[in-house]
Symmetry: C2
DNA sequence: GACATTATGGAGCGGACGCTACATAACCCC
DNA sequence: GGGGTTATGTAGCGTCCGCTCCATAATGTC
């Protein structure tokens, strides 16, 4: 019925995501995106809408492929305490290996405060991550592998905060001793001896 | 000898800082800055150099007036454990009250990765903050007000990470329960019962 | 008051910005 | 192979970007 697209949509989105990820929203121009995606402006606007709409598609794809994938994989494949430990380990390893940092953090800082739509997406994903940690903490406490000294809700809040902090620190101080030390110290909360009563 | 400046340099720098703080480096134009500072472009460039030089002056002033001021005040006026607690409390209160977030975090995420000069400044200030927490932790342990269950270096690393994380979370989820819960949980590390041996 | 020096306002440089219009090309359906 | 429909390349819209030039103004020195 009509002429088909001459490019791979997912490859184009991946290229756009990489560009937003590296340079942020404002510092990325539509011309940059078109070049990275191998598209002229007409094709870009026809397929993905304007710059803002393209960014939200990239952010959604990024979050599905990184954060949600990790939550699903670890929660399904590991016991709760190990899932928490593995999450932090992966975050540290990624922070040390990938200079692009975390697109969720980048968006929370650069875009979310000025963009209610992106702000809602970011807030929702942060709640998902907090929920993962809180669920694992509660399950580990029920299974006896995690100390009951602290409420699971607060553990979830602190692990979420720790992940965000690690991702920020890695942009200016990508040092293994720093990131591993912080993660180790957060995980120590899982072993707090319980006071006798 | 020559015509004097017709504007207050510190007030102009404060106005520029506020603009960079709210909108970030890239999204702030020199015209915006000139309008906020009450200066024409000629005066602005003559007094402060180009946009990048002005930004670094704003960032330095901001850090001296917020982070360094807080470290100095708390470390001089409070015992070590209380200094740590007060720092986190102030960060939470400020995060809930001021929608601009933390300019150090903003700069670490937006500017530092693409700018070695700013990156060095940010890394240095992060080290100062880590040092404050580590010093307080060690002093508190020596005074007996902080548990010796964890090494002071790791406590410093985690508190630094926690502050960074709180500052990120507050941009998308400025919720008292979340930020206070995370801070409370981090501070619980100061009370870890020591295992008998 | 003439002079040297710095500050200021305004005009404007070349280029990049996000985005659009339009003619043409490539496909499916019949 | 014509017709309908969508995709694509190019040219270019109006605006804003960082920054500079230049004529003029305001000061201290003598």
């Amino acid at each position: 019925m009509s002429r088909p697209r001459a490019f791979d949509e997912t490859a184009a989105l991946d290229a756009a995501t990489d560009h937003f990820w590296r340079h942020g929203y404002t510092a990325t121009s539509v011309r940059d995106l078109g070049q990275a995606m191998g598209l002229g402006p007409a094709s870009l606007y026809n397929a993905f809408g304007d710059k803002h709409a393209l960014f939200t598609q990239c952010l959604d794809r990024y979050l599905d492929g990184s954060m949600r994938e990790r939550i699903r994989r670890l929660e399904a494949g590991l016991p709760p305490r190990a899932a928490i430990e593995a999450f932090l380990e992966e975050i540290v390893a990624r922070s040390l290996a990938d200079p692009r940092g975390c697109m969720l953090v980048n968006s929370a800082v650069e875009v979310a405060p000025h963009d209610p739509g992106v702000g809602a997406v970011v807030a929702g994903r942060l709640r998902e991550l907090e929920g993962f940690f809180a669920r694992c903490a509660a399950a580990g406490q029920a299974a006896g592998t995690i100390s009951r000294a602290h409420p699971a809700e607060d553990l979830g809040r602190l692990f979420l905060t720790t992940v965000m902090g690690l991702r920020v620190l890695s942009r200016a101080r990508p040092e293994a001793a720093l990131l591993q030390g912080a993660a180790r110290q957060a995980l120590a909360l899982l072993d707090t001896p319980e006071r006798e009563h």
